[in-house]
Amino acid sequence: MSPVAEMGIVEEQIEISEGVVELTVRAPEIAGLSRAGQFVHVRVSTGFDPFLRRPMSVGPCGDGRLKLIFAIRGRGTRLLAGKLPGNTVDMIGPLGRGFDHPEEGVIPLLVAGGIGVVPLLLLNEQLPVGLERDFLLGVRSRTVLTVTDSEIERRHISVATDDGSLGYRGDVVQLLARRLDELDGRKVNIYGCGPGPMLTFLKRLCQERSIPAQVSLEVPMGCGVGACQSCAVLKADRKGYLLVCQDGPVFDIDAVDLSPEALP
């Protein structure tokens, strides 16, 4: 892994839905190196308060540009959302281990919860053109979509909403279970990213049906490069830890403990 430090330049800032922002950033080095699932560590302040960088998955990229798509949660993401065209974004990246592409004959199933869609948007772009795939996205309601309507159409994304306001009514893991039934035993590989409860359900389903899956995890992080050991997650056997920034953020679903206690 050889991450670089790059000062990106914002070219566009749009609000995808209430509280979800997409920045298009010109950053040729990082955009050229990134694999789906990898992340950038973004400085949100020009000073030292807030102190830490914010980890953000690399979204769709190409042409010397990458997209950062994020939900406004606290101070850091609020500052980042305030970046306008022409502003700079101090980033290090690409960091971490990304998704492994499926072997021949295996159908990739992309399963996203909310803002977890971001690394999967890049995976969808990096998978070989014409490869059969399925892209599922779960959100609470259509008002909090994390991708635009036109992207949903263009990328053939199947949407699940908790309130039934768009697409399938229910959660995305239920939608996945139905999809698996339809695929009727064909070989698949699941690529997941989303909130803790979704990952807990996803792991249960994958274990029940013996389906391999890779998931991208989000936890508080310090250095981003494996030096400080802040971003530890419990191994599945609960004997020791793995580091999200270095061993992940993408893990085989069987490698990590995704029980509710482990994902506070």
Binding site: S2, P3, V4, A5, R43, G47, F48, D49, P50, F51, L52, R53, I92, V219, P220, M221, G222, C223, G224, V225, G226, A227, C228, Q229, S230, C231, A232, V233, L234, G240, Y241, P264
Partner: protein, 306 residues
Amino acid sequence: MKVDTTVRMGSLELRTPLLTGSGTFGYGDEFHTLVDYRALGGIVTKSISAHPRPGNPPPRICETPGGGIINSIGLANIGVDGFIADKVSALPIGETRVFISVVGDAVEEYVTVVEKLEQVDWVDGYELNLSCPNVKQGGLDIGGDWRAVAAIVREVRAATGRFLAVKLTPHQPRIAPVVEAAAGEGAEALTLTNTLVGMAVDVERRRPLLGAVTGGYSGPPLKPVALAMVWQAAQAVDVPIWASGGIVTGLDGVEFLLAGASGLQLGSVFFADTKAPGRILQEMCDYCERHGITRLADLTGKLEPL
């Protein structure tokens, strides 16, 4: 005007006064494509213990308002044997000086680790991390008890002829007896200070932000505490002092030098700015030029009376 950045510490000359703070710079190579090693006089590794330590339950890091962070890593490390087998080859040997931080829960553990590291050729020295619970003494900080400090430094001193620094906790009723004890037993540098014990709460969820509940408070808010300790230690002893606590700018570094420090450790700042060594060195040189000072080392202890 060219400012001379070299500093002499006893038997060692460092290219610049800048060092890395233990635990913030890993085993020394994690930042290698991002950090300019030429701006560093040396690195201090993560603290190494006799056996691997898995570390504390997550979350292990959080932020506090005002630019602070709290970590509860729990001294996670692969242990001295793993370190020698897997990490030595990746150290930036030749690029900068290398100091190994050593931690233990009793005198014997410090000695065991140092004896094993003596087999490795290129190590420039050690920094003993004494800010950890003394298991035999009911978990009190080893570094807060001058007798325990004296005993550890004496035993380790007998085990190595290499440069020996001793890092102390800010939780000290009185700093003078402890630094005198360390210096008296042969410590060649004193690092002040380690993190303060701190805690933060998520009020909405009524839960601690750290898995271990409390952790080590560092970053800019720690600077005044560290500065006072550096100054007090410099009053008490003659050995070089390595400052640690909230250094994020060149002027922070100058403050510590004036208060009596010879070395300056960059810690948490790496999490915000990986280019900190080059930037901070430049900012200190700019200060020197403004004040007509030709050697950075000439600033040490030059605090004027009010």
